[in-house]
Each structure stands twice: as structure tokens, then as C-alpha cells.
């Protein structure tokens, strides 16, 4: 039976589609913008869409965190970096082959059609809802079942900070 657009499911589907489009459009802007600042804005739009998808997947906490961390912190950090470094606009890499566009397009279309048909034809096991996705259960999970990952991530972050400092400290050697 076809669901009508104005039933509850139809409207939810429409909103989901909207989030999806926002994500894709943001991604395209981020990849194709001439100026770096515009690319960052594209990234922000993309992140908003992804946060919306998390919301639909029953994880409001993750959606909130996504907005807080990625838009609130990461995008701002990137903007700071752009302002501090003042990169030259319109830096183009070396000449590209005229064939690279069509070949890239064809292989992308092949990949997309393959993945789409794969996703549609597979019977996915509907994962039972493990928990209510609240902050409390996420915290308990992080400190029990996933405690090792939780601890290792902190080392990864420390490493990233140290690495950035070490590489940036001396400036460029000329």
C-alpha cells in the first residue's frame, strides 16, 4: 500500500530526505568552493545534515554532540587556522589530464550504482535497540564495554596535539 505524503511516515520521510540533501549539497560545496572560507561553510552545512540523520537514527545525544563538537569547535578551529595562515586564494595544482573528469565521473557512477543496488538487495538484520541512547547509558557503555577504545582515543588525541605542536613549532625550514 502506498503511503501518502501527508501521513506521519510520509512527512518523516520527507524530513529525512531533506537532511540527506543538506548533507550532500554541503559536501559538494565543501569540495568545489574556490575560496577556503566557503569550503568551511559547506562543511558546516554538511555537518548539520549529518546531525539531522543521527537524530532520525534515534540518537539525539549524538546529534547534539555532533553539532557542538563539529560545528562549534572543529569548524571554528578551521576558520581560525584560515585567518591566521591567510592562504593564497585560487591555488591550483598542476595541470590535470582532460580525461580525468570523465573517468572519475564514470567510476563514481559505477561505484554508486553498485553500492545502491547492494544496499537495496541485501536483507539487513534489523538491529534490536540496544539501549535508550541516553547520556547515562552512553556513559556506562563507554566505561564498561568500550573502555579500551575510550582510553585509546585519549592517547590518539594527545598524540595529535603533540604532533601538531612538533611540526608547527619550528616553522618551515627554508
Amino acid at each position: 500500500m502506498m503511503k501518502t505524503l501527508f501521513s506521519a511516515d510520509g512527512l518523516v520521510g520527507l524530513l529525512f530526505l531533506f537532511n540527506l540533501i543538506v548533507t550532500v549539497v554541503g559536501g559538494i560545496v565543501a569540495c568545489n568552493a574556490e575560496r577556503l572560507v566557503r569550503a568551511v561553510i559547506g562543511l558546516v552545512v554538511c555537518f548539520v545534515g549529518v546531525a539531522g540523520i543521527y537524530f532520525f537514527l534515534n540518537s539525539p545525544f549524538i546529534a547534539m554532540m555532533h553539532i557542538l563538537i563539529y560545528i562549534g569547535a572543529v569548524a571554528v578551529a578551521i576558520s581560525f587556522a584560515i585567518m591566521l595562515a591567510a592562504p593564497e586564494e585560487k591555488m591550483r595544482t598542476g595541470p590535470t589530464s582532460p580525461l580525468s573528469g570523465p573517468i572519475g565521473l564514470i567510476s563514481t557512477l559505477l561505484l554508486i550504482s553498485g553500492l545502491v543496488s547492494l544496499a537495496l538487495k541485501t536483507e539487513w538484520t534489523s538491529v534490536t535497540k540496544i539501549n535508550d541512547g541516553s547520556v547515562k547509558t552512553i556513559g556506562i557503555q563507554l566505561l564498561t564495554n568500550h573502555s579500551m577504545v575510550f582510553e585509546l582515543i585519549s592517547i590518539v588525541l594527545l598524540l595529535a596535539i603533540l604532533g601538531a605542536l612538533v611540526i608547527a613549532r619550528g616553522g618551515r625550514e627554508e
Binding site: 547492494l118 538484520t125 538491529v127 579500551m148 577504545v149 592517547i155 603533540l162 604532533g163 612538533v166
Partner: protein, 470 residues
């Protein structure tokens, strides 16, 4: 006791973090690094017979993981010892360099024990990030100015491969509803005929293909090998590849029910890696770049063992990667000693090495003969076992192509040997080698020969270790 090696590495990392805060002398840093690496190896050996689960089943300590930890620790010790005072690294960031090396080591050691997809992913990232940072730390005083480019290339290709891996993991989770390897192993045989399971498995494998530099994921190899400092390249060429083989064994043993499709793809990757690596190596002038391309070819050989999906095949793959690490360490030991200022070496820079440094010339010759697959060295025995294993599974075409590749490879390995022995030194001065480097190179030569002549004990050990995870 279960977690002692990891804790030791963490402690060593902290020690070097403290060292980075002060201004320690060169000798202090070097001695600390060697001592710390020796202690780590000692704790790994001490914990070899431990078994148990940690972190709610995400981390498993068994003979398989412990043996790989010993191998990783031993290879790192060798890298630390022949580092030659880290000539190629910026002077003010040498303690940090050791810190990153230790963190990368921690990631690899945790990787071989992880039995849960998320843990595998994070451990792999930890080990990779540290290496990404180590590549651009090379000083421009060596006359090389593209270390930043090499680092960025390494990072971007790495992120791409990791993205594929994560996407594959999400498929696996969608199909099975679990992230633990045990749970996946239970459910995969039921899902075997679904294309999504095959695609997911291949995507996960691609993350480790990248580490091992197998054909479609090899693009970083030449530039990173050439752009990174000699010591860094020695580490990249030997240590992460062992961990990658360990994880490929864990994962392909899961994929063994998926039959023809995975097998065929692994075969194609193997053949392409061998031909691409060997044919590109033929024309290289830079020694490290040549070793990089030869590494791609050797990775193809290792796939020969994995795609048998049999115990003996896996054991010979382990034997081969250990032998490969030994040969590479020997080569890079020579490179680090001959390149007194940490510069890149062209093949012509080795001319007349037999007069300038006889022991190094001997080491290089043994290592290259072994890489070429000439008896009685470890490279020959490894290739022999891999080809025999593949032949037993009726992959005749694959074995024939691999044999042709061995013949191609002999040319470029032996042309380096010819340069070492049959040309004048062209005014190049003698190479100063210390007692440590000399004894280390003799030890490596001995191990390469002994493992080649008497492989059975190691293969038996590897088989008993792999039995614990099958």
C-alpha cells in the same frame, strides 16, 4: 601480567614525554631509547605464555598475539639500536621522535590483541597517526625538501583506506549486529552467499592492504620511502607490516567461507602487486625507493600464503613477513650507516662498499640475496614454502607468475650487489662503523642464515600460535 608489555610501552612513552620537557643530551636520549626498547622486548618475552581476555572481551591475550608482540618489540629494538643518533631528524625534536615511535609501537601491539572491530580501528589509527607525524620530522639539512609532501600523501591515502575500512565495518555491523570478531565468525558462514558480506569483508581488508602496501593501496610507498628519514623508513618498512599480516590472518580466516569471490580478488591483488612492484623497481636509482617497490612485490607474495586459507599457508605467511622484516632491517642498517648525514642514497653511492666497509657490504649482500630468493637464506625458504602451499591448493597459474616475478626481481637486487663489489669507490671515503652497528649486522646476517637453513622450529611455533585463533 596480561597487560604488562602495553603498560611498559606506555611508561616508556611517559618517560620520553618528560625528556621532551627538558633539554637532554644526545647520548642520554639514545641510551634511554635503547634501554627502553630492550625492557619492552624483555617484558614481551616474559608474558609469552599468558592467555586471557581484557576490557570486556575487546582485548585477547593469546600465543598468537604474544608472538607478534615479541616480533614487533624485537624489530623496534633493532631500529632503535642502528638509528645512528637520528641524523635525519631535526635536532630539537629527537626526543619527540622517540615518543611517537613508542606510541606507534603501542598501537601495533594493541592491534594484534584486539578482537573487536572498534578496538581494531582505534589501535590501527593510533599506530598510523604516530607514523604520519614522524614522516615530516625529517630535517631539510639532508638535502631533501619534500618530507611535508610525503607526510601529506601518506596521511591522505591512509585516511582514504581507513574510510573504506570503516564503511566495510558498518556493513558487517548491519549484517551481523555485533562488532566482536567471535560473534562475526559465528554469523558469517550463514551470510556467506550475500554479496554485501563479501564487499564488507574486502573493504575491511583494504585498511590492512594499505599498511602492507598491496597493489591498489600502494600509492604512498615510493614517495614516503624517499621522503621520510632513513630511520623512519626502516620502521615503516618492517614493523607495521608484521602487525598488518597478523590482522590479515585474523580477518581472512573469517572470510574463508566466502569462497571463490574473495579468493579471486586476493589472487588478482597478489599478481598485480608482484608485477607492479618488480617492474617499477627495475628502473629505480634511489635505493630506498627501490626497496619500497620491492616491498609491494613481497606483499603480493605474502598474499599467496593468505589466500590458501589453510594453517600451513598462514604459518608460511608469518614466516615470510618475519624474514622480510629481517632482510629489510639489514638493508636499512647499511643505509643508515653509509648515509653519514642522513641523506638519501642512490644505488651508485654504494660503489666500492666492499673496500669502504667490508662488514656492511657483507650484510647488504646477504640481505639482497635473501630478498631475491637465493638459497640458503630466509627469503628463499619463505618463497619456497609459499609457492608450495599455493601449489597444493592447485593455484598453478599463480605459482607460475610468482616464479617469473622472482626471476625479474633477481636483476635489480643483484645489480646493487654488483655495484657494491665490482666497481671502484670513485673517491668515496671509508664508512665509519661503530662496534654496535658491526655486531648488530653480524647478528642479523646470522639470523637470516639460521632461519633459512632451519625453518621448521619457527614454522611449528607459528602454526601452534595460529591454531589458537582459528
Amino acid at each position: 601480567m596480561l597487560f604488562l608489555p602495553e603498560l611498559t610501552i606506555l611508561g616508556a612513552g611517559l618517560l620520553f614525554f618528560l625528556l621532551t620537557l627538558g633539554q637532554p643530551s644526545e647520548a642520554t636520549i639514545k641510551n634511554c631509547a635503547s634501554a627502553v626498547a630492550a625492557v619492552i622486548l624483555f617484558t614481551c618475552v616474559l608474558c609469552v605464555n599468558q592467555t586471557g581476555n581484557l576490557f570486556y572481551g575487546a582485548y585477547r591475550v593469546d600465543l598468537f598475539s604474544q608472538i607478534f608482540k615479541i616480533l614487533i618489540a624485537a624489530a623496534t629494538l633493532v631500529v632503535f639500536l642502528f638509528g645512528n643518533g637520528l641524523k635525519g631528524i631535526k635536532q630539537d625534536s629527537r626526543p619527540e621522535y622517540y615518543l611517537f615511535l613508542l606510541v606507534s609501537n603501542l598501537g601495533l601491539v594493541m592491534l594484534v590483541s584486539s578482537v573487536e572491530l572498534l578496538a581494531i580501528f582505534i589501535a590501527l589509527e593510533l599506530s598510523s597517526f604516530a607514523v604520519y607525524i614522524m614522516v615530516p620530522m625529517r630535517t631539510t639539512a639532508t638535502g631533501i625538501f619534500f618530507q611535508m609532501e610525503a607526510g601529506i600523501k601518506y596521511l591522505l591515502f591512509g585516511v582514504m583506506a581507513t574510510g573504506f575500512m570503516l564503511f566495510g565495518m558498518s556493513y558487517i555491523f548491519g549484517l551481523t549486529g555485533t562488532t566482536s570478531l567471535d560473534g562475526i565468525a559465528e554469523q558469517l558462514p550463514i551470510l556467506a552467499n550475500r554479496p554485501a558480506a563479501v564487499v564488507a569483508m574486502l573493504m575491511i581488508l583494504s585498511g590492512f592492504f594499505y599498511k602492507l602496501a598491496i597493489f591498489p593501496f600502494h600509492f604512498w610507498v615510493p614517495d614516503v620511502y624517499e621522503g621520510a628519514a632513513n630511520e623512519t623508513t626502516a620502521f615503516i618498512a618492517a614493523v607495521p607490516k608484521m602487525a598488518a599480516v597478523a590482522l590479515l590472518i585474523r580477518l581472512t580466516s573469517l572470510a574463508s567461507h566466502q569462497g571463490e569471490m574473495v579468493l579471486n580478488l586476493l589472487m588478482v591483488c597478489s599478481i598485480l602487486s608482484m608485477f607492479y612492484g618488480n617492474l617499477s623497481a627495475l628502473v629505480q636509482k634511489d635505493l630506498k625507493r627501490m626497496l619500497g617497490f620491492s616491498g609491494i612485490a613481497h606483499a603480493g607474495f605474502i598474499l599467496l600464503g593468505l589466500l590458501t586459507f589453510k594453517l600451513t599457508g598462514y604459518a608460511s605467511a608469518v614466516y615470510y613477513i618475519v624474514g622480510y622484516a629481517l632482510m629489510n632491517l639489514a638493508c636499512f642498517l647499511v643505509i643508515c650507516q653509509v648515509a653519514a648525514k642522513g641523506e638519501n642514497l642512490g644505488i651508485s653511492d654504494l660503489s666500492g662498499l666492499h673496500k669502504r666497509a667490508p662488514i656492511l657490504a657483507l650484510t647488504l649482500t646477504v640481505a639482497l640475496f635473501s630478498l631475491a630468493g637465493i638459497p640458503p637464506f630466509v627469503g628463499f625458504t619463505g618463497k619456497f614454502m609459499l609457492l608450495l602451499g599455493a601449489l597444493r591448493e592447485d593455484h598453478l597459474l599463480l605459482v607460475t607468475l610468482a616464479a617469473i616475478n622472482t626471476a625479474i626481481a633477481i636483476y635489480y637486487y643483484l645489480s646493487v650487489v654488483r655495484m657494491t663489489f665490482c666497481s671502484d669507490s670513485n673517491g668515496l671515503g671509508n664508512v665509519q662503523t661503530g662496534f654496535l652497528a658491526n655486531s648488530l649486522s653480524l647478528i642479523l646476517v646470522t639470523v637470516i642464515i639460521v632461519m633459512g637453513v632451519a625453518p621448521s622450529w619457527f614454522v611449528a611455533l607459528a602454526e601452534s600460535a595460529i591454531k589458537t585463533i582459528l
